[in-house]
């Protein structure tokens, strides 16, 4: 008669469906069916193919098949001078380009033993955290589309555009900015940028409140996220999963706190953690990280030190333009850097940082020449994808879509 009783009738019927392997219906036999989900499927967030074994609506096994967007970036990097590798590694995980550049530049700086000036470290932190906000906004928007909530997508992409505008102002590019260089950043921030970033972090906090107001009391979102896709902490650790997925299961592992790099120890921020590691915890952890990133950006702007924005070591960084007209040495350095590039002492290093998706490590081996002998990215999406099967086994196929969205794999990073 009234809406409430209709709803509860519906709910009762919905809850009567069980996940048991008994056939649903009199005299029916269930048989396993293996189907392809993807490679072209709107909810796989890229070119990901899942071979799904179904029993009715229940997922019994999932096997991810990847490699559709493998572009051989690591092989390409071996044929380029170190500073020319930066633009290609930025294109691996195309939502966290600053992080890719940071992992690679950090590894090369370690090999060269170059000191990065304090101002460059702060500028890097500001851009990294803006990038983290941007990546989480894309994740939230696209995940909500998978859950059927299209309006959140428009709002998230509105805020993402303002982050991209900030990137365009500081570096000239919206994506793949090539702003980070070995030894620092390519140029100082323009006049007026600081004020615009402050205005952005101020509005971003209220926008994040609005997303929470849209989603947190939404019955459909709660039904689809809570107690779905649960993976416990021990399984995640065995699978090598890091980042928000591990933090949602209650493990506060974050490299920004555990092993601070690029002056992260100067800032006061919290690590959001979940309790049981279901999809709702994953959503809450990433949502809370947006506020923490805003706090870090504000603190970095407050304490932004004066000084050079790239190392003064002329063997590594290009000399300023005005020196070329007056100094012979500067001209020689410029010529050597642009033609051959700098040579790096032989050795191997591994430089891990905390990307929006977990531990992003860059392994660089140098043989003493001006080109890397091996560049390998430990991409978090590639490793985290292994958690798909344990997170979705014996759940509904609709939950598979929600769980995949909350795992947040970026296929450019998976396939590289």
């Amino acid at each position: 008669m009234d809406a409430v009783s209709t709803l509860s009738d519906y709910r009762r019927q919905e809850e009567s469906v069980t996940l048991s392997s008994a056939p649903a219906g009199e005299g029916l036999e269930q048989e396993l069916m293996t189907i392809n989900m993807g490679p072209h499927h709107p909810s796989t967030h890229g070119v990901l193919r899942l071979i799904v074994t179904l029993e009715g609506e229940t997922v019994r096994d999932v096997k991810p098949v990847i490699g559709y967007v493998h572009t051989g970036i690591e092989k390409t990097a071996e044929d380029k001078a170190y500073w020319k590798v930066i633009p290609v590694v930025e294109r691996m995980d195309y939502l966290s380009y600053y992080f890719n550049a940071m992992a690679f530049c950090g590894a090369v700086e370690k090999l060269l033993e170059v000191e990065v000036p304090a101002r460059a470290q702060y500028l890097r932190v500001i851009h990294l955290e803006l990038n983290r906000i941007m990546s989480h906004l894309v994740w939230l928007g696209t995940s909500c589309i998978d859950l059927g909530a299209i309006s959140v997508w428009w709002y998230c992409f509105r805020e993402r555009e303002s982050v991209l505008d900030l990137f365009e102002m500081s570096s000239g590019q919206r994506m793949h900015t090539r702003y980070f260089q070995v030894g620092g950043v390519i140029e100082d921030i323009p006049r007026g940028w600081v004020e615009r970033v402050r205005r952005f972090t101020k509005t971003m906090r209220t926008r994040a409140d609005q997303y929470a107001a849209l989603l947190d009391k939404n019955e459909i979102v709660l039904q689809r996220l809570r107690h779905t896709g649960i993976v416990d902490e021990a399984t995640l650790l065995g699978l090598g999963v890091t980042g928000p997925l591990l933090r949602a299961a209650g493990n506060p592992w974050d490299l920004r706190k555990a092993a601070p790099y690029s002056s992260y120890d100067h800032f006061d921020f919290k690590i959001p953690v979940g309790t049981i590691g279901d999809n709702y915890d994953r959503y809450r952890v990433r949502h809370a990280e947006i506020y923490e990133s805003c706090d870090i950006v504000d603190q970095a702007l407050d304490g932004l030190p004066e000084g050079p924005f790239i190392t003064e070591d002329r063997k590594v960084a290009l000399p300023p333009r005005h020196e070329l007209a007056t100094s012979m040495e500067a001209l020689i350095h410029h010529f050597k850097l642009v033609t051959e590039g700098f040579r790096v002492p032989p050795g191997e290093v591994y430089n891990p940082i905390e990307s929006p998706r977990g531990e992003l490590g860059c392994y660089v081996r140098s043989d003493g020449s001006s080109r890397p002998a091996r560049v390998h990215m430990r991409d978090p999406s590639f490793v985290n994808l292994q958690a798909t099967a344990p997170a979705t086994r014996n759940s509904y196929i609709a939950d598979l879509v929600a769980t995949l969205a909350m795992l947040d794999p970026v296929l450019g990073g998976v396939d590289r």
């Binding site: 065995g238 699978l239 555990a258 392994y363 091996r374 490793v383």
Partner: protein, 169 residues
């Protein structure tokens, strides 16, 4: 990271388990690396797990061409409570590229080991599902080896589409 002394102490313990298993240690840019013989890799990993390095952070493949025992496999192990990393490394030849798989210790080694197999041709004995992961299943060769040429892949244009094999047939 363990310091240089700590690394030697760990290497000492591994040597106690098998006297000629540890082939060398290096301490470079504050990163500790232990190189072991391929046959001893599993045992070494188990011993390091016992020392607290319970998380396998990463697995890399390297080609040391033209040095011999060309192919290298690196496991970056992490001790989360102490924030301590150590690299376990082993090297094999192209002729006999067999390394024991560590998938039973860490299920998460599955995808990274498949990637190393795909790109370098290192065979992981005991791996549950050793197939190519990034390259197509029928691909020949291991593209990340240093002697594999860049541009070794024919590019398909209209003028050569009937000459490049396997595309239009």
């Amino acid at each position: 990271m363990p310091d240089a002394t700590g690394l030697e102490l760990i290497a000492q313990d591994l040597r106690a388990a098998d006297s000629d298993a540890v082939l060398g240690t290096s301490y470079f840019r504050e990163e500790a690396t232990i190189e072991v013989a391929p046959a001893f890799l599993r045992r070494a990993a188990e011993l390091l797990v016992g020392k607290g390095y319970t998380f396998m952070a990463s697995c890399h493949g390297v080609d040391y061409y033209p040095e011999e025992r060309r192919l290298g496999v690196h496991y970056q192990l992490l001790d989360m409570p102490n924030v301590d990393r150590i690299c376990l490394k082993t090297r094999v030849t192209v002729e006999q590229p067999n390394v024991p798989s560590l998938c039973t210790l860490w299920p998460g080694a599955n995808h990274p080991e498949r990637e190393v197999f795909d790109m370098f041709g290192v065979v992981f004995d005991g791996h549950p599902d050793l197939r190519r992961i990034l390259m197509p299943e029928d691909y020949e060769g291991h593209p990340q080896r240093r002697d594999f040429p860049i541009g070794g892949e024919p590019v398909l244009f209209t003028y050569n589409e009937d000459k490049v094999p396997g595309w239009t047939q």
